[in-house]
């Protein structure tokens, strides 16, 4: 199916031969294919609509570069807009002026919070920080144990009060423990929850009010579909998400959910997860994801050479 779209795009682009300026027709035709590519990549349908409309308006009348066909020129513009939209602002973590820096990890069930918590802790440890991981998921069977096993693996301490305690209390006590032991970064692993679970969303709000996190990181599965728009909106509205971690990008997903989330929350994507193994988190590269979402590798390499 993906191949099919790429091919039909190529055909559409081939039809457009080099001219001086992009005409409405040139743009219209290429944008139809861009729309399909974005939808196939799971970019939210409304986001696609707005995006296509804005880029279309911007593209009409632009000069066509000598070495490109009008179709390629449109793709170039689309690619640049996508990259710009997903990039921008700082993507480092905000560190507290007076340690410890507190980071809350939040997101849907199974998105990769616990794994990412460990990866982040490892990154900090490698940079001469002293992280502490806090096991605040008392719901999922063996969630605390999972974090403890990972902590031992990467030699990072884990704070927990067992499954019988209130997660908000655990988070508070975890931060206090960090102060006591001189840890300068506290990473709080929270339970997965759906954004429509009122009680559990309130729990996060209470936790935030108690521990005043410097970062609230929304952990999102890169394979996520159209619903990313509602998830991102809900978490952001309630908690003021400060950054996004896109996990499982080692899959063959096109990852369009990232664009949706970026568009809805305005929060930068700070890291990507590229595997199950606990290795330091990787930085996010907007240009790579833009090219992945468009799924037009050959066109883009052509453009890059132009």
């Amino acid at each position: 199916m993906l191949e099919g779209l790429a091919n039909s795009l190529q055909r559409a682009l081939a039809k457009l031969k080099a001219k001086g300026k992009l005409t409405e027709e040139d743009v219209q035709e290429a944008m139809r294919e861009v729309r399909l590519a974005l939808l196939a990549a799971d970019v939210n349908v409304k986001v696609v609509k707005d995006f296509v409309e804005r880029v279309r308006a911007r593209a009409i009348g632009q000069e066509v570069q000598q070495s490109l066909t009008p179709g390629q020129q449109v793709v170039k513009i689309v690619y640049e807009e996508l990259t710009e939209l997903m990039g921008g602002s700082q993507t480092r973590l905000r560190m507290a002026p007076h340690p410890p820096t507190v980071v809350m990890m939040v997101g849907l069930q199974g998105s990769g919070k616990t794994t990412t918590t460990a990866k982040l802790a490892l990154s900090f440890r490698r940079h001469q920080h002293r992280p502490l991981m806090v096991a605040a998921d008392v719901y999922r069977p063996a969630a605390i144990r999972q974090l403890e096993v990972l902590g031992r693996q990467i030699d990072v301490p884990v704070f927990s009060l067992g499954e019988g305690e209130d997660p908000v209390r655990i988070a508070e006590a975890g931060v206090a423990e960090a102060r006591r032991m001189g840890a300068d970064v506290v990473l709080i692993d929270t339970a997965g929850r759906t954004h429509v679970d009122e009680a559990l969303m309130q729990e996060l709000e209470r936790m935030q009010a108690q521990v005043h996190p410097d970062e609230v990181l929304l952990v999102v599965d890169a394979m996520m579909g159209q619903d990313a728009v509602h998830v991102a909106e809900a978490f952001h509205t309630r908690l003021g998400v400060t950054g996004v971690v896109l996990t499982k990008l080692d899959s063959d997903t096109r990852g369009g959910a990232a664009l949706t989330i970026r568009a809805v929350t305005g929060c930068p994507i700070k890291f990507v997860g590229m595997g199950e193994k606990i290795e330091p988190l990787e930085a996010f590269h907007p240009d790579r994801l833009a090219s992945r979402i468009l799924g037009m590798g050959d066109v883009l390499s052509l453009i890059e050479r132009a």
């Binding site: 939210n44 063996a142 394979m223 579909g225 899959s251 809805v264």
Partner: protein
């Protein structure tokens, strides 16, 4: 105003649920192209995907023409009908062994809900008086064994396990032996989450499958692919790859208690003809239901 701000402003209009917009389209006076465009958009927003959305809208158009329907209010029923037709003719029952234990192999990518689904399914079977053994075939993920043990305790099922890092095929081998010795009715095999695009992990799964069919005639009686209901079009690629490697016989779609509609199962069933057998509706032990095409279609078309 920055690029991003402008973009977000544009999005604000989309706050109301997509299906709300569809309802709006259905309440329009005349049946024109706008109505069908809105319908297509609503389907896309439920992860139905481009091809199947276009196809479904075409089916509705055809039906509307044939039945000389002139007002949009009658369209939801037609859409639901088209969806049910697409999902029809699939055997949703779970196969069992004629004699001896039935073995179900549960597979899927990371974090979709395999272990949880095994816990819920075990509970269902136990409630009907069956004796069930869980095989802790995920020897990779931290505390995966402990997680399955917790579910075993809740559901009243024995758990056969080795330690982390052990060969999963050996675990399954032992579970089969234990099931025979203890006269168990079912063996539910958990497996580690694996991405379908990782050849070595898929090869490992194929090996487990081989051991199962060698050690227990007729097994696996079901290969259940677990799909996360919030996943987008990648679920198609997952189904294709797992089907090729372990001959998936049924699908469980989890996490439909969120606002995701799981619409991707429409193109999956249409293209791969693998029946959806279960839906997961929460994290509790009772939150597993048999799949019902008409209530699924209803939820997609009317809510």
């Amino acid at each position: 105003m920055g690029l991003l701000d402008k973009f977000r402003k544009g999005l604000e209009k989309s706050r109301e649920a997509v299906w709300g917009r569809l309802a709006q389209a259905f309440s329009r006076q005349r049946l024109d192209d706008t109505v069908f465009d809105e319908m297509e958009e609503a389907l896309l927003a439920a992860d139905v995907g481009v091809e199947t959305s276009v196809w479904l809208v075409e089916q509705v158009r055809k039906k509307a023409r044939e039945q000389r329907i002139a007002t949009p209010e009658e369209l939801p029923a037609l859409l639901q009908q088209a969806m049910e037709e697409a999902l029809a003719g699939m055997d949703v029952t779970m196969r069992t062994a004629a004699a001896g234990p039935s073995l179900y192999l549960v597979v899927g990518v990371n974090g979709v809900g395999k272990t949880t689904t095994i816990g819920k399914l075990g509970h269902r079977l136990v409630q009907r008086g069956a004796r069930v053994i869980f095989a802790a075939g995920d020897t990779f993920r931290a505390a995966a064994i402990e997680q399955l043990q917790a579910w075993g305790k809740r559901a009243g099922c024995d758990v056969v396990h080795h330690s982390q890092g052990a060969d999963p095929a050996a675990v399954v081998y032992d579970a089969i032996a234990a099931a025979k010795a203890r006269r168990a009715d079912y063996i539910l095999c958990d497996t580690a989450g694996r991405l379908h695009n990782k050849a070595h992990l898929m090869a490992e799964l194929s090996k487990i499958h081989k051991v199962v069919s060698r050690e227990l005639p007729g097994a696996p009686h079901e290969v259940l692919l677990v799909l996360d209901g919030t996943t987008g079009q990648n679920a198609m690629l997952q189904t294709k790859a797992f089907k090729e490697v372990v001959q998936v016989t049924g699908i469980a779609v989890t996490k439909l208690d969120s606002t995701a509609k799981g619409g991707v199962i429409l193109p999956i069933v249409r293209e791969f003809r693998v029946p959806v057998k279960w839906v997961g509706l929460g994290e509790g032990i009772d939150d597993l239901e048999p799949f019902d095409p008409s209530s699924f279609a209803h939820a997609l078309c009317r809510s």
